[in-house]
Symmetry: C2
Subunit: 352 residues, 2 copies
Amino acid sequence: MKSTAPSSGINRRVLLSTLALLPALSGPLLPDSAPAQTPGGLLQSWNEGPAKQAILDFVRATIDRSSPSYVSPEDRIAVFDQDGTLWVEHPMYTQVVYCLERVPAVVAKKPELRNVEPFKTVLSGNREAVAKLSMRDLEKILAATLTGMSVEEFNGEAKKWIETAKHARWNRPYTELVYQPMLEVLRYLRDNAYKTYIVTGGGQDFVRVYAEKVYGIPPEQVVGTAGGTKFGYARDGKPFLTKEAKLLLNDNNAGKAEGIQLMIGRRPYAAFGNSTGDRQMLEWTGAGSGARLKMLLLHDDAAREYAYGPAQGLPDSRVGTFTPALYGEAKKKDWKVISMKNDWRRVFAFEN
Amino acid sequence: MKSTAPSSGINRRVLLSTLALLPALSGPLLPDSAPAQTPGGLLQSWNEGPAKQAILDFVRATIDRSSPSYVSPEDRIAVFDQDGTLWVEHPMYTQVVYCLERVPAVVAKKPELRNVEPFKTVLSGNREAVAKLSMRDLEKILAATLTGMSVEEFNGEAKKWIETAKHARWNRPYTELVYQPMLEVLRYLRDNAYKTYIVTGGGQDFVRVYAEKVYGIPPEQVVGTAGGTKFGYARDGKPFLTKEAKLLLNDNNAGKAEGIQLMIGRRPYAAFGNSTGDRQMLEWTGAGSGARLKMLLLHDDAAREYAYGPAQGLPDSRVGTFTPALYGEAKKKDWKVISMKNDWRRVFAFEN
């Protein structure tokens, strides 16, 4: 392992980009196309290889004014799936864990649900039975735990939970189970004027609760599955918004391209995913002109994380899957596949 | 009229904010709370008075770290209605003019509409008859001219139109009929790290076509009435998005607060409107804690623009109205009313 230079408070990047704004100084010191540096080198948790190289090449090609693939800063949009792309999605989506763990509080408020399925099964604590719940049952649980309260109430509850809940395998908060190499990609893109978005099948409001702290991505740059809200007034005349069960955007599959149009309004230059749910997002990104980066993360590292999808030769029905067909499309269209095992020197920040 | 200092290329603001990033220099030269200056002074198209003062006071109170109303930069969100707030909405919303003028092209493609109402009336060119079309008829025209084509086709058509179409009264492009004082407010807020959004009852996709050029507001910061899109593949396998007639967000009245939640995900600190369609947006903004700026533009200047709403003592049924009830609510809640006649030294950039 290389030793890394210590980080120096108000960092080198801010200083460099500041200097770049001073016409009198920037010319000879900092060519316009020089990518911003992070201490310890770019993408330091990545091994040298085609995946890392593809990212570096893409950024250089799109920020160099003399490049035929130059992209003006205001058009630099990069989109990232979340579950399985930015953080662990196994054995269950974090948001689903949240919803299951909220059931007792919901039943306490609505005791009539106690003996009604699927709430009864969830309250029983029988893990095997919970794991067998149908999609329809899960939807009922999601509706009961994610809607019917004000936006502020939901934010407060979700924030409290995410600050304390832990993943059983690592006994660490879910928010520590983000992939360090991907945090470096987010940072590297932002350092080069890319606006980074999460485009997730997960709930938009849920991810917005922690995205700024965990990924440096503000709420308005989180696109996700979204329900409507309803404006109303409290008795004292104060307005509030209630989260409704009405689905506005199912941000999966084709919905990801549609969600990008709705919420961003322009085509991304870079897209990162890991499953068939991200397929149309990568296709939509790739159909634009010029240099477009399309990457899929392959979970092939059972030791440090998990191995599933093509790495096991079988589809996994619980989570969005990286099917053989998607793998084939990636190969055919020259989408870059990131091997967790081979391309990542480090998976989590806490490893070292 | 005061003489104004000449603008100086790469401007003073960039230089000042650059200096502010250099710890060694910024301390004594530039206190953290100093508002960025624009050449010729702040808000130079505004007359001195309570409206201008309210804007200056709000910004100072929210950027000064020692102020009890200090707002951290990432939370600085300001929202602006468009029609009648940022540009002229009389005698007809610009987007409605666009839709009416698109009718011949739509009928050329679908000749079966030629003798069907309301298309027949529009093709007749009878202005009085067109002015009498019902809301239901207008909706048919909007659906026929704004949906059913790909996102790219629509953007291309709308862009071409907005670059050439002119307002009859001034014989100038609609994009020159933006209010210079409001452009200065947008700029002043952005100079102080506010993210500026348009939140319009108009079509999101339509406004996105020109918002960056006209207001300096990128597509992803335009929230408007939005329809769905549908992802599909062309014969060559290339993906495309078709604009659908399905309404996802009616960004008027309560829909403006709901749209802010959907697209931004946090409560604004400043909101500007001019009609009952903006009421809930101002209420939602005002219900937050700390300093919140709520402003309504009153059209009381028939000489330089128009006088309607409370200025005429009668509601105007064609456009979103500034009703006596809204005027009463503004007075009661201390929302600031901007008098176009008294508060604006200049209305349009082309005046001088």
